[in-house]
Amino acid sequence: MGMPVELKGHVDKVWQISWSPTELLFVSCSGDKSIRVWKPSKPDLTEWVCTKTLDSAHSRTIRSLAWNPDGNILASCSFDSTTGIWEKEYELVATLEGHENEVKCVSWSASGTLLATCSRDKSVWIWEAMGDGDFECIGVLQEHTQDVKSVAWHPHEEILASASYDDTIRLWKDDDGDWFSFQTLTEHASTVWAIDFDKSGDYLASVSDDQSLIVWKRSSSGYEVHSKYPNLHQRTIYSVSWSKQNNLIATCGGDNSFCIIEFNPDAENGLTLKKRYESAHGDSDINCISWCPLGNNSDLLATAGDDHLIRVWKIQL
């Protein structure tokens, strides 16, 4: 079996995958209400196996997963309005309640002490990890006017970005215990589905139902548009992943394809499409794309589709 490797197991659309930051494995979540853990079973990575299935924690679709920076705590969030916390070989140690309805995304801060969740209830919640599965909500951020689709922390600082069905991205920080939105980015013309920082945090990538990719650059006054790639996909772009090893951005969406784009910060418009993979999940939407964060495996990319499948790709440009 060669690349891409096709992973079967889920029995409904796969919404997201999350690579471990410390070892070569990833977890996936699905409309089938389960989380699966996947590891390579051959040194050349041409075979992967599901080593665990967690299917008792959530009563509805599991939408998103996130590892803490140490790779020893996993958070899962679900349309059942809760967020699960998993420790010690995938034992559910806490269930965070508070959102009124679907929790759509979860993200850990760089220090691993803060967790952000967002929901169709238009709010973003910031939780502080107190240890031993104990979490305290320290902020309920309610500036978005519609569903909040995703959240992403800055790679070094306690700055949070959130993307919404209200077509905007908001940036948040803490002022003496009070979380506030210090900037609203309004360049997208429709729902912003996903965001990801580059490894420096000086740049932020966003993708939208408007079928475009935008890269924002940080300046003294906040984030500003640096580069735009209009009509990158022919339908909604659902996911974006910025490699933490290089300047490659991957996107995927409802047009069955995924794209590898190179970003050059010194160019006027720094986005160059290097390769487009058509029909990467056959006739299916691709919901998630994610670069492996490990330095030795930075050419590995995982995609998840409506076809219930996950694919692991080795990207050679």
Binding site: F79, E102, T236, G254, D283
Partner: protein, 153 residues
Amino acid sequence: MSTLINATPTVYGINQEKQEYNWDDDVEEPLDKDEIFQLIRNINDPEHPLSLEQLNVAQKDLIQIDGNRILINFTPTIPHCSMATLIGLSIRVQLLRSIPSKYKVDIKVTEGTHQSENAVNKQLNDKERVAAALENSHLLQVVNQCLSTTIDK
């Protein structure tokens, strides 16, 4: 019974001969407008014992097919119809259950026929919203009620 949004809708004639439409079992054959219309014409309006075809909410000419892309426009009976999202969701569910998943379906209110056109369209075409709606058992029950009239017609 609660007050109806549109108590006296105009009822239109239906095309009788097309009720005899023959299904094409050849899977290689792409779907055409007739087949799509056949699937949605008998969906029941959420507040009347009338079909979307009888109310002119669904019309064959409002269906466009381009390769694997299908655009269905529907026309609410009144511009402030609060049932518009539910009607659109019923059309979406009917197609999710009936046609191959390779088809990418967009469902939109006919331009200029609803005061919240953009909001309704956005909701109907957000797959995450639709997936969550279909896990809501109450909503699903209402949708199934609208779709119950599409069987055996």
